[in-house]
Amino acid sequence: MPPKTKVIKQRELNFLEKLYIPEVIRGVCITSGHFFKNLTLHSLHRIGLLRHIAAAVTIMYPEIKRRYPHRYRTRHRLTKRDDGTPRCVACMMCETVCPAKCIYIVAEENPDPNIEKQPKTFDIDLGKCIYCGFCVEACPEDAIRMDTQIMNIAGYTRESMYYTKDRLLNPEREGDIVKPSGSLR
């Protein structure tokens, strides 16, 4: 079956719109409307009135950070077992599925025969990662997650985008995990 095509015509501007000036005035009205509405609401909130009606706010990033939605994909981490060793068994499912080919795992023997296998090295090149989350999806051990809420991943060198096992296991060390800030709804 050929795909159905829906043709949408662009609406022509009417006479008033074509005059330009009235539209500019209308735009200024909308902006000022919001401004005065928020000004009033914020002032009233101060004296304890109309608190149930929300007013727009600007979040003072990076001093204040907002908690991202629960399923938002942020920087990876490797989860740990109770004894602190990585849960990862170096099955390389994530390495295999990764469309950016930016996961590099070398496996080794785990002394416990019931675990058997563990990653000797586990590197992700975040300079290449496209944040698709396939690695998380593929993992049979819940060993890799993208829930650190770390978003500010930037570096001056390519090497600094290269995350090793140690960095992935200890995201809190890099200090950017967002605590719910309380000042927001």
């Binding site: 080919k101 025969p113 019931n114 058997e116 296998k117 051990e141």
Partner: protein, 535 residues
């Protein structure tokens, strides 16, 4: 010869054949675990159950002999349902630890589950625990929980190697594969049990955790470990450089050839692949007086190919013809040997001889041959004199100071000459040219080193001890700047004033077929993947 019907198609097979073989002939693939064409029939896994008319119950296809007029159904509903149940049964105590199992990706439990299983497990009970990750010998690891007790490995050690290290111990669902007390799985063919184990119970220590099998590509080839010329597959991966330190070849696996190695190879050949990636000569090198250390070698300085070949050609002209010794090697392909003769013998007029080192080793009446070279027979058929006396003669000549130029193909002369004797040869020699794949003491001693491709990096043929010509195929690009031996020889020939127009090795082989009577009528197509015997 009985004629039977399988799934509505008629087929006539040899008397005494089994249903599984008859079905195979028609292209019906009956699932099996314990049946292996190279071993006796055990009939214990029950995966191959099929419906045969007039039999009250399903029969195992691997052990039921065909009879005239048999009507077999391999895909009826009851057969399909049975397979599903058998698989569920085989997996009752299986730990399902595919993430850590090296067999994952080439496992017949995975394959058949996807093809014939796809049931939801009904098991509520605890699984029986058995030993995991046990070393049972220098090459093999055992995981009893994954074993489905097909007994292929036991039959292999009983029937093929006749060493009987393995057995099945205990009873019922506590049965497990094990090693007899005080023994270990340590024979010349132990790696084969890993190949025949349909699941991940027996895995290879050498390959353990190195690479996932779905990263691998396979290329047919022939083992160069001895004159048997066992057919192998080279398993390699190129995409993931972080694996195994960037090595390309991950393992060798046997390739079935009824006439040569059947389904097996020896451990020596199986684990003989590291030289393909390790310690290779990457660039043409020249000895320089200052000790610079490049390409991992002292006193060696890389030079461009053109210069290297010019230099070689120049020196070959300078030193008188009778003061030259050219030492070909039975590690070279037929094409290289033929061309070496043509270039050095005909064009340059130098004496070329084959030194087959006295490198005789272990041999048995199965696969392993004493001659550790893949192409001694080929060299002989191409007119080389394969005598140990050649070497002695050369040594005598060298000792008399009559050898001033030496061109060595690949071999390490130190390996089969005493150090004093080697010194006596190299000492008075003005120029030693080494054309080979890996660094060795002879290469390190050379004045000019020409890097050549290993067998996995070029096309060609070897002739095994049975006079069977077998193809090797290019699986990998030559490492670094190395070139296939025949290209180097063609370069030398061009500089000596005779341009050769080969673009691929099959042209050289066609020339051999035309020039050497025993090769007559052979072509690469005729040799195919299984080889062809010389006239």
């Amino acid at each position: 010869m009985p004629t039977l019907t399988v799934n509505g198609k008629e087929v006539t097979v040899e008397k005494g054949s089994t249903v599984i073989q008859a079905a195979e002939k028609l292209g019906f693939d009956i699932p099996r675990y314990c049946y292996h064409p190279g071993l006796s029939i055990a009939g214990n896994c029950r995966m191959c159950l099929v419906e045969i008319e007039k039999f009250p119950k399903l029969q195992i296809a691997c052990h039921t002999q065909v009879q005239d007029g048999m009507v077999v159904k391999t895909e009826s509903d009851v057969v399909k349902k049975t397979r599903e149940h058998i698989l569920e049964f085989l997996l009752v105590n299986h730990p399902l630890d595919c993430p850590v199992c090296d067999q994952a990706g080439e496992c017949w439990l995975q394959n058949y589950y996807m093809k014939h299983g796809l049931y939801d497990s009904r098991l509520d009970e605890d699984k029986v625990k058995k030993s995991k990750a046990v070393s049972i010998g220098p090459t093999v690891m055992l995981d009893s929980e994954r074993c489905i007790l097909c007994s292929r490995c036991v039959r292999f050690t009983d029937e093929i190697t006749k060493t009987s290290e393995l057995g099945i111990f205990n009873r019922g669902d506590h049965s497990e594969i094990g090693i007899y007390p005080g023994r270990e799985l340590n024979n010349k063919y132990s790696g084969n049990v890993v190949d025949i184990c349909p699941v991940g119970a027996l895995t290879d220590k050498d390959f353990r955790f190195k690479c996932r099998v779905w990263y691998l590509k396979a290329s047919p080839s022939v083992c160069t470990g001895c004159s048997m010329g066992c057919n192998i597959e080279i398993h390699y991966q190129l995409e993931r450089k972080h694996i195994a330190g960037g090595d390309r070849v991950m393992r060798f696996k046997p390739r079935e050839n009824e006439e040569v190695n059947k389904w097996w190879i020896c451990d020596e050949g199986r684990y003989g692949y590291p030289f393909i990636d390790k310690n290779r000569i990457h660039k043409p090198c020249r000895r320089v007086p200052d000790p610079v250390s490049k390409d991992g070698q002292k006193d060696m300085s890389p030079i461009p190919w053109d210069k290297a070949l010019d230099m070689a050609a120049q020196k070959i002209k300078e030193i008188p013809k009778d003061a030259w010794a050219v030492l070909a090697s039975p590690q070279m392909t037929n094409e290289e040997l033929y061309l070496a003769k043509k270039v050095f013998g005909d064009t340059l007029g130098l004496a070329i001889s084959l030194v087959s080192p006295n490198r005789e080793g272990y041999s048995d009446d199965f696969l392993i041959k004493a001659d550790k070279n893949p192409n001694t027979r080929g060299a002989f058929e191409l007119g080389y004199n394969v005598l140990k006396t050649q070497l002695e003669e050369m040594v005598r000549k060298a000792e008399a100071g009559k050898i001033r130029g030496l061109y060595v193909f690949g071999q390490d002369l130190y390996e089969f000459l005493k150090p004093e004797t080697a010194e006596k040869i190299f000492g008075p020699c003005e120029l030693l040219i080494f054309q080979g794949t890996n660094w060795n003491p002879t290469a390190a001693r050379a004045s000019l080193v020409l890097p050549s491709a290993v067998f996995a990096e070029q096309d060609g043929t070897f002739t095994n001890f049975q006079r069977r010509v077998q193809r090797i195929f290019k699986a990998l690009e030559p490492m670094g700047e190395s070139k296939p031996g025949w290209e180097i020889l063609a370069g030398l020939s061009e500089r000596a004033g005779r341009k050769l127009s080969y673009k691929e090795t099959h042209e050289i082989f066609d020339e051999i077929a035309a020039a050497v009577p025993v090769f007559q009528g052979l072509t690469y197509t005729k040799i195919g993947k299984k080889g062809a015997v010389l006239a």
